[in-house]
Amino acid sequence: MATEVTTLVEETFASKSNSGVKLPIYMDNHATTPVDPRVLKEMVPYFTDLFGNAASRNHSFGWAGEEGVETARERIAKLIGATPKEIVLTSGATESDNLAIKGVAEMYREKGNHIITAVTEHKAVLDTCKRLEKYGYRVTYLPVQKDGLVDLDDLKRAMDDKTILVTIMAANNEIGVLQPIAEIGKLCHEKGVIFHTDATQAVGKVPMDVNKQNLDLVSISAHKMYGPKGVGALYVRRKNPRVQLSPIIDGGGHERGMRSGTLNVPGIVGLGKACAICHEEMPQESVRLAGLRDRLKNKIMSGLDEVYINGSMEHRLPQNLNISFAYVEGESLLMGINDVAVSSGSACTSATLEPSYVLKALGTGDDLAHSSIRFGIGRFNTEAEVDYVAERVTETVQRLRELSPLYEMAKEGIDLKSVKWAAE
């Protein structure tokens, strides 16, 4: 099955570049990752021979399914320093974010109605908070500093006696910036506030430990760490403090009543294996990917002037690079490197026709937000691919700058900010 699909992709898109790398190159690993063949191999039997419902308690088919699920639960827990009973299986991180935020909001309604989050969160968190505002909750959206990090003093000031939840992501999906979650968690615990972190981009990439980092709720997704799509988990702390949630999906009482619905056994097995591989290989993999990322950055920056890194380089996922190429519009750049899959913060590539709200929150001007490209380096990228991408990006930016009236004006010494643009 996998081979057939791979063949189809190859027949449709694949070609060889002069440098010998196989095209197209996938370097958009914050959007999704391919399933690791080792993960797929463990999943396959659960579609066929081991198809039982993990909730069937009376026969071996059910027991086999349950065993697969419980092994996975242990592996997920191990990756973040939790216990298996604290792992609630879901359909993915969006559901986990919804369950964490809405679940706390409803359960702790009598204690308070105030939630704190940050402006650079994923829409799964922001839109959930916006919905709660309609139901009478108060939400504080913390700004971020120029490097993308929240200011702990801002957080302290925002907390009051009605605050029940702080939800701040571990790693940003666009700029890869790592928030100081251990410090945020500590602050929350001092004030008796529950701390949720959307760790979709962080789990499996950087070390995480729910106790050392003072985390109460952690959203996890399989498909960002070489597992399948449509499966994820929510870590829910059971002691110090015990966190309780109102479910958002009612039904057969699966997952200790917190998430009803027949378990996606093959997907969960895949998530478990993905976690086990990340746990095993993270020390070497994060070093290798940081090396590739820095190689890409250095090659691009040595070939081009006026390129700007978005977000902190110090507090950042090893896999992520987000760069703005001044005077070049992002979508046209993507079009020029069409054998490389990356993404852009340009308005032209978004459904809303607005440039990236994350970059805007950093204080990046709209012009540079339009010029941004996100590179997400992954497990299956090679040094030869990085070199090819750096070369293609450099030559395409140079070509588009020759085509850009803004570049011409800047070279003539005109301050673009002083120009009175007609379309404003």
Partner: protein
């Protein structure tokens, strides 16, 4: 979203890229759009004052592939036309020629604006009345 073959062709082989002397009395320059909006087009025309025929046209564009293609096509279309004929070019014709999807219609509008702005600038230099001055000035 995929691009039409014509957009890809103009993107890969843009026609009439370049700049002309904007201080020349025969040259009209239109600069439309804004960097904050993700699109800026500069379109220049060189007009024969005896015949009012556009003898040459050049462009430079900051924008997406559809914006580059729209302005590249605009330079092709205005060349050889009189200024009155060029003023009759409608953005809808650009949309049709390049098979632009609805979200890219603004690119064609900007190209039409650029033509009008360039002609307006040229007319101003000729001391004529200026019905259209949609340009930006540095």
């Amino acid at each position: 979203m995929s691009y039409s073959d014509k957009v890809i062709d103009h993107y890969n082989n843009p026609r009439n890229v370049g700049s002309m002397d904007k201080s020349s009395s025969e040259v009209g320059t239109g600069l439309v759009g804004a960097p904050e909006c993700g699109d800026v087009m500069k379109l220049q025309i060189k007009v024969n004052p005896q015949t009012n025929v556009i003898e040459d046209a050049k462009f430079k564009t900051f924008g997406c592939g559809s914006a580059i293609a729209s302005s590249s096509l605009a330079t092709e279309w205005v060349k050889g036309k009189t200024i009155d004929e060029a003023l009759a070019i409608k953005n809808t014709e650009i949309v049709k020629e390049l098979a632009l999807p609805p979200v890219k219609i603004h690119c064609s509008v900007l190209a039409e604006d650029a033509i009008r702005a360039a002609i307006g600038d040229w007319k101003k230099k000729q001391g004529a009345a200026t019905p259209e001055t949609v340009g930006a000035k540095a």
